[in-house]
Amino acid sequence: MSAVQLVPINWYILLSAVLFTIGVLGVLFRRNAIIIFMCIEIMLNAVNLLLVAFSSYLSDGAGQVFVFFIMAVAAAEVAVGLAILIMIYRNNHSTDINVLNKLKW
């Protein structure tokens, strides 16, 4: 019986949900592109947390393996995303996403 399992799993689920919601709200309401990226990372990590918690409580290693995958994907995504962000900044001299509204009818 490890120390982790003294806490009921509901708390971990609640924590993960709250983190995820914070991330979503951040993506929806913030204007700075860098902040949006960081909120996306928050969302990913919330999922990671949940997966590890379940992996521990159900003694199934698959959750932790999946977390590795998610981390690798997150890293690659950040690399590409930041490259795009730098190009946006070079063209518009601002990281405000409301500037990018030219592709419309």
Binding site: V24, V27, L28, I97, N98, L100, N101, K102, L103, K104, W105
Partner: protein
């Protein structure tokens, strides 16, 4: 030789493909050689088949080419049936066809559509051969439709003239009306017998009792098809109009071959017809009425080709009379002799038209005897043959039909003789007005008068020879000859002969009928000679006063006008209404409505794309929540 039977239709087909695709690039001589060569080769193979068949005792042979339609219970192979009936027709089609191809080289020499003409002619020969060689009704139908198509193409050959196009369209539409009956007949045959192959159908038919309603309906439908194709009343008006095509076309299609397809079909289905006495009566009645009706119209026509056209309709009526009396051999015999002398007459007319620089009105001709000696002589032979003067071909075939008519009913014999009398009269009227007395045309035409080239006169002479000796293949027993054609065709009509009442006339009666007919005909010819030669009478010019009866006959009893007003105009009106109301208002507005809806919805929905990224992400999140919610339901 029997292995080469597939070559018979394939050679003209290859000729059509070569000339049709490359004709413009080849020289006229080469085109002519290819076209005539393929038909000549087909004739040689047909002749070989004929001699083989004689040696083998005239047994029918079925040659299977390939499996054609294979769907469920329906198995129709593409195979040919070579028996005496098909061999006779093969010889006529390829033999007369070859002579007409040869003639066309000279006749169409100055025409710019030279290669197109020969391509169509070869295609026609191909389809006609398919028609007579097929071993089931479907191949016959393919050939049937195909010759209708070629007839349309060839009648409207000089397509720049609207009147000719209308004539071609009229021929095709009337043919199609008949074809509907034919197709319904084939379908009914399939339903009744479970097969459309001749051997199976006729074998099953032997088990049928006579005069059953299903047989009557089948044969009536088949006869409707024959009415359309062979120009009987009421579907005959296309044939005189078809004279718009070049004269070799009139000779080949509308005298010797295509119009005889109806007779072939009924002769082939003889067992079915023998089992339906009512249809036989209908056939005989339609035949004799058409023969008389067309003959009366021919009396008053002034266009050389129109006279021959009505003569063709009339002679076809005689063939149907023979079929209706159960005398199938006689009908085929008359087909053969008619092919010889009618093709001869048409080609002769073509020679005259060629010499007269396109003039076709006999009131403008006259005295052509000296300028066109060969044409004159062969035309004389043809006229004597068609009038039924012994020993020419027409005498034997027509006299036998009249003898059988007498055995069935003296009234029929009398009507048939009346038709013969009229035939003799109008043919000799044509002959005397065209070739005798003084020239009545223009000076320019007179200078241009010349005999036709060898390619045109040689076929004339060959056909004249055939018109003289062609009758001897059917000399009846009463005159001492073994009826060679009857013996040859006996196995084809054996089943029918057993069932229909044999009409036996005593030799004395036959001699009496023959002598009577010859005496009457000779007197009629002398009467025509007196009228048009000695008393120098001329047909009335346009605008001259003619009696009301003459006017009605001259205008073909106004049948065309009646059809125009009773059938064509209402159908055209209906089609116009359908166009205006259904097509323009309903269908078009429906289609336009769909287009307008698409336009409107796209114009409305495009405002969603406002360019606001925040809104896009919001929409994404909302959609994910919605999906998860729906998934949990």
């Amino acid at each position: 030789m029997i292995n080469l039977v597939w070559l018979i239709p394939v050679l003209p087909l290859i000729g059509f493909l070569i000339i049709g695709l490359y004709g413009k690039k080849l020289s006229k001589n080469l085109v002519g050689v290819i076209a005539c060569g393929t038909v000549l080769a087909a004739f040689i193979i047909s002749a070989g088949l004929f001699f083989e068949s004689l040696a083998a005792g005239a047994k029918p042979v079925t040659i299977n080419l390939f499996s054609w339609i294979y769907a469920g219970n329906l198995n129709i192979p593409f195979s040919f049936l070579i028996d005496p009936l098909s061999i006779v027709f093969l010889l006529i089609i390829t033999g007369v066809g070859f002579l007409i191809h040869l003639y066309s080289i000279g006749y169409m020499h100055d025409d710019e559509g030279f290669s197109r003409f020969f391509a169509y002619l070869n295609l026609f020969i191909f389809f006609m051969l398919l028609l007579v060689m097929g071993s089931n009704y479907l191949i016959m139908f393919v050939g049937w439709e195909g010759v209708g198509l070629c007839s349309y193409l060839l009648i409207g050959f000089w397509f720049k003239n609207t009147a000719y196009n209308n004539a071609a369209r009229k021929a095709f539409v009337m043919n199609r009306i008949g074809d509907l009956g034919f197709l319904l007949g084939i379908i009914l045959i399939y339903i009744t017998f479970g097969s459309i192959s001749y051997s199976e159908v006729f074998h099953s038919a032997r088990g049928f009792a006579s005069d059953q309603s299903v047989m009557t309906v089948i044969t009536l439908l088949l006869f409707v098809g024959a009415i359309g194709k062979s120009a009987q009343i009421p579907l005959y008006t296309w044939l005189p109009d078809a004279m718009a095509g070049p004269t070799p076309v009139s000779a080949l299609i509308h005298a010797a071959t295509m119009v005889t397809a109806g007779i072939y079909m009924i002769a082939r289905s003889n067992i079915l017809f023998t089992l339906a006495p009512f249809t036989m009566e209908v056939v005989a009645c339609v035949g004799i009425v058409t023969a008389l009706f067309a003959a009366t119209i021919g009396l008053a026509q002034n266009d050389i080709k129109k006279v021959l056209a009505y003569s063709t309709v009339s002679q076809l009526g005689y063939m149907f009379l023979a079929l209706g009396l159960g005398y199938f051999t006689g009908a085929v015999f008359h087909v053969a002799t008619h092919a010889f002398f009618k093709a001869l007459l048409f080609l002769g007319a073509g020679s005259v038209i060629h010499a007269m620089s396109g003039e076709q009105d006999i009131r403008r001709m006259g005295g052509l005897k000296k300028a066109l000696p060969i044409t004159f002589f062969t035309f004389a032979v043809g006229t004597l043959a068609i009038s039924g003067i012994p020993p020419f071909a027409g005498f034997f075939s027509k006299d036998e039909i009249l003898a059988h008519a007498f055995a069935a009913s003296p009234l029929l014999w009398f009507l048939g003789l009346l038709g013969s009398v009229m035939t003799a009269f109008y043919m000799f009227r044509l002959f005397y007005l065209t070739f005798f007395r003084d020239f009545r045309g223009t000076e320019k035409q007179k200078h241009h008068l010349h005999e036709s080239p060898k390619t045109m006169t040689i076929p004339l002479m060959v056909l004249a020879g055939l018109s003289v000796v062609g009758g001897f293949m059917g000399v009846p027993e009463s005159l001492g000859g073994g009826h060679a054609l009857k013996a040859f065709l006996a196995p084809v009509f054996a089943d029918s002969e057993m069932r229909s009442l044999p009409t036996e006339l005593s030799a004395g009666t036959e001699y009496g009928l023959m002598a009577f007919a010859v005496i009457i005909l000779v007197s009629v010819i002398l009467f025509a000679r007196n009228l048009y030669l000695n008393r120098a009478q001329l047909p009335a010019e346009e605008g001259e006063e003619i009696t009301p009866l003459h006017k009605v006959v001259y205008n073909k009893y106004y049948v065309d006008e009646i059809y125009e007003n009773v059938i064509t105009k209402p159908i055209n009106w209906i089609s116009e209404q359908v166009y205006k109301v259904i097509d323009l208002r309903i269908v078009d507005s429906l289609v336009n409505f769909v287009g307008k809806t698409v336009n409107w919805s796209s114009a409305t929905l495009r405002y969603i794309q406002a360019g606001n990224i925040g809104f896009y992400i919001f929409a994404m999140v909302l959609s994910i929540i919605l999906i998860l919610f729906l998934k949990s339901l």
